[in-house]
Symmetry: D2
Subunit: 94 residues, 4 copies
């Protein structure tokens, strides 16, 4: 089993931290923080979200695609790959 992915708990911890950061953003806006400082925070939240997305994508390719393919199921493999490619395209543009 490849060991480089995050566990479910890691994802939950990361997302809880991101939720806290978004709450922090609201505080910054409420306190009329200088907008450049708010922007810096937003870039940090975006980066954290992207890291979660890349982790999940890795999970998908490493498990869903890999397992279907190593199991010899061509149709399912192709479907999993197609879903992965669409998710990647959305991610690259988002």
């Amino acid at each position: 089993m490849p060991g480089y992915e995050l566990t479910k708990d890691d994802y939950l911890k990361r997302l809880a931290r991101i939720e806290g950061q978004v709450r922090g953003l609201q505080r910054l806006v409420e306190e009329d923080t200088y907008c450049i400082d708010v922007l810096t925070q937003i870039s940090s939240v975006s980066g954290a979200l992207r890291a979660v997305a890349l982790g999940l994508l890795d999970e998908h390719v490493t498990h869903c695609v890999r397992d279907a393919a190593l199991g010899g199921n061509q149709a399912e493999t192709d479907e999993k790959i197609s879903e992965a490619m669409q998710a990647i395209a959305r991610l690259v543009k988002s």
Copy 2:
């Protein structure tokens, strides 16, 4: 006064919605939702965050840069522009 920017309240509402979306992401992970569906949700949150960032950047350029410049303050104008460019560079890469 240009009227195309969001009000403080609009930002707070958008950020509260984003916070709710991030909480929703945690639920999805907890319930072992298919990772492609989680990824779709993340792309949507990223897009919402980027919209907030572009709004704040507009605010900065439309107010901070514009006001300093129309007020004839060259040094402050240049500083505001330099801050804007750094925020844009971070945004483009984040």
Copy 3:
């Protein structure tokens, strides 16, 4: 054989068109074209390059990963997946 990928010839044609667009950019700069118009052109070139990249990535996952996995070669599959994930991470940030 999945039929949705581009052929080698398609890639060459697209890249030749992108090369022409980059030559066009130099002409625009030489003729002191208004910088916003140059920027619009650059966004178009970036989009075209990204489309080529997504096509190649699809190729990699659809052939290299899929073939290694359907062939039952776990070590090679994992290496191909790892290469794909690194390419995706670079792409998402570039």
Copy 4:
């Protein structure tokens, strides 16, 4: 005069280098180079293009916006700012 922008010649040199890189990409595809290596090259070209775009944007804000604003022309300032914001939004998504 702020001195941090590129000269016209710098832009032309950078674009000529990017043109050469795109020609190199065609060679890589022609020679059936491993797609991951082509992707790495594409990320490098995209990064170079983005650097040119950020330079031009800086130019626009530093000259067009700043000059209109310091010249006291509010209508022109607002138009230049609006053009800049649209270019930034395209850049962030491209």
